[in-house]
């Protein structure tokens, strides 16, 4: 993928929003890839977790279109392993929040199998709705 890097993008409002909402320093990540190596849901992602951080570092708002930010289940495996102490689930949450606050909604209950909906435990419904709908 070709992209243009510019000072304006590196210091854009998007980068500031991600850092402010997450409370994390994007440039602390040195792209070692340990998060992607250990991520249990990486196989279902269109972009690896470390690539999501790289795009956010570079101010590439296209990252908001990635499925990865919605597939991350905040299991915190990467937090336990990041040698730089980056809390990646907080960055993922910031990207989800930016999407949700602009009106996105990520659950389509009609697409869920009815037998599953009848059986789901309460905390999955409460937690899922808080994560994926504003």
């Amino acid at each position: 993928m070709r992209t243009t890097i510019s000072v304006a993008k590196l210091r854009s409002q998007f980068v500031r929003d991600v850092e402010e909402i997450s409370g994390e320093d994007l440039l602390a990540c040195n792209q070692c890839g340990k998060c992607s190596a250990g991520c249990p849901v990486a196989a279902a992602m269109d972009m690896l977790p470390s690539q999501v951080i790289r795009m956010a570092q570079l101010g590439m708002t296209e990252v908001l279109q990635s499925r990865t930010i919605w597939i991350c289940a905040s299991c915190l495996t990467c937090v336990a392993r990041c040698p730089k102490g980056v809390d990646l689930p907080r960055l993922m949450e910031a990207l989800r929040e930016i999407s949700l606050r602009s009106g996105a909604s990520e659950i389509d209950l009609d697409r869920l199998p009815p037998d599953l909906v009848r059986e789901l435990p309460q905390l999955a419904i409460v937690g899922g709705f808080r994560k994926y709908i504003k």
């Binding site: 849901v41 907080r90 905390l123 808080r130």
Partner: protein, 292 residues
């Protein structure tokens, strides 16, 4: 000893068996879990966005209720435990946030209460040796895979229950009840959590891998402390129009395993709403012990 207890939404509905077996084993060990009066939902997620103080209100209300009841509050649900413990830690580290929430809720949460998991009470208050001494039906020969999942362990600097990469607390419990802990590589891998309400195929894939890994390691049963893990690991093993595969592994709560070992009657095992049938296995174990 009486301990204030927060059941949470799922233990009052879908996971009643966890609540029942948890209260029964605690009582059998001299710890009475006293349900908080008028408790409300903890929110089921800890907010990861720094500007989302709204999501701290529900768990802070629970902590306030707990503070009126005593110095500590016990949880069984790993998610309630995670949310309440992290909220306790967050408000300890950020007194200004605590003030802000108190201003909103018009309740004066002071930050004195300690959130504990029943596993912690067993390890630190009762002790594994004492638990082993109380066992009347040692589960000799039963191969149990300890499944820790995520939220009971991580993040370590806020939860601090056990080593987040090489935990032992469930292993120790399994040994104390006379069974054999089975190590398997997916012991601390994610089951997909609430992805099950968005992309159920993803969580099913993860859960199938976890169960297959435990089976390959020789486990006969999995134990967990989380009602969402329990559901996610059991659901793919349900009987479908194609019948059953025949290699199901029941996923029990650690309290259910303890209820069997402590000699409690079957109704206190709290086996209900499962998609596999653990009775043949458990009754076999009981029979084997009682015929000796």
């Amino acid at each position: 000893m009486k301990i204030p207890y927060y059941p949470g939404c799922t233990l009052s509905t879908k996971a009643k068996g966890y609540d029942r077996s948890g209260r029964a084993v605690a009582a059998a060990l001299g710890m009475e879990l006293v349900e908080l009066p008028d408790w409300q939902c903890c929110g089921a997620t800890f907010p990861l966005a720094t500007d989302n103080s709204m999501a701290l209100i529900a768990p802070t209300r629970v902590l306030y209720q707990a503070e009126q009841a005593g110095e500590q509050v016990a949880a069984l649900c790993a998610i309630c435990y995670h949310v309440l413990k992290r909220t306790q830690t967050a408000l300890e580290r950020d007194p200004a946030m605590r003030e802000r929430i108190n201003w909103f809720t018009e309740q004066g949460y002071e930050g004195r209460v300690r959130v504990v998991h029943l596993l912690e009470l067993l390890r630190d208050y009762l002790g594994w040796a004492e638990l082993a001494r109380r066992v009347v039906r040692p589960l000799t020969g039963l191969r149990v895979a300890p499944y820790y999942g995520c939220l009971l362990l991580r993040p370590y600097d806020e939860i601090g229950l056990d080593n987040p990469e090489a935990p032992t607390i469930l292993h120790d419990l399994i040994r104390a009840v006379g069974a054999e802990p089975v190590d398997f590589p997916f012991s601390i891998e994610c089951c997909g959590s609430y992805l099950t309400v968005k992309d159920p195929t993803v969580s099913e894939t993860l859960s199938r891998e976890i169960v297959a890994s435990a089976r390959a390691a020789g486990a006969q049963v999995l134990v967990t402390a989380c009602p969402l893990c329990q559901f996610n690991l059991e659901w793919p093993q349900r009987e479908t129009a194609f019948g059953r595969t025949g290699d199901e592994i029941p996923v029990l709560y650690f309290t259910q395993l303890m209820a069997v070992a402590l000699g409690l009657p079957e109704e206190d095992w709290g086996i209900e709403g499962m998609y596999t049938d653990p009775y043949p296995l458990l009754r076999n174990v009981v029979q084997a012990v009682e015929s000796v």
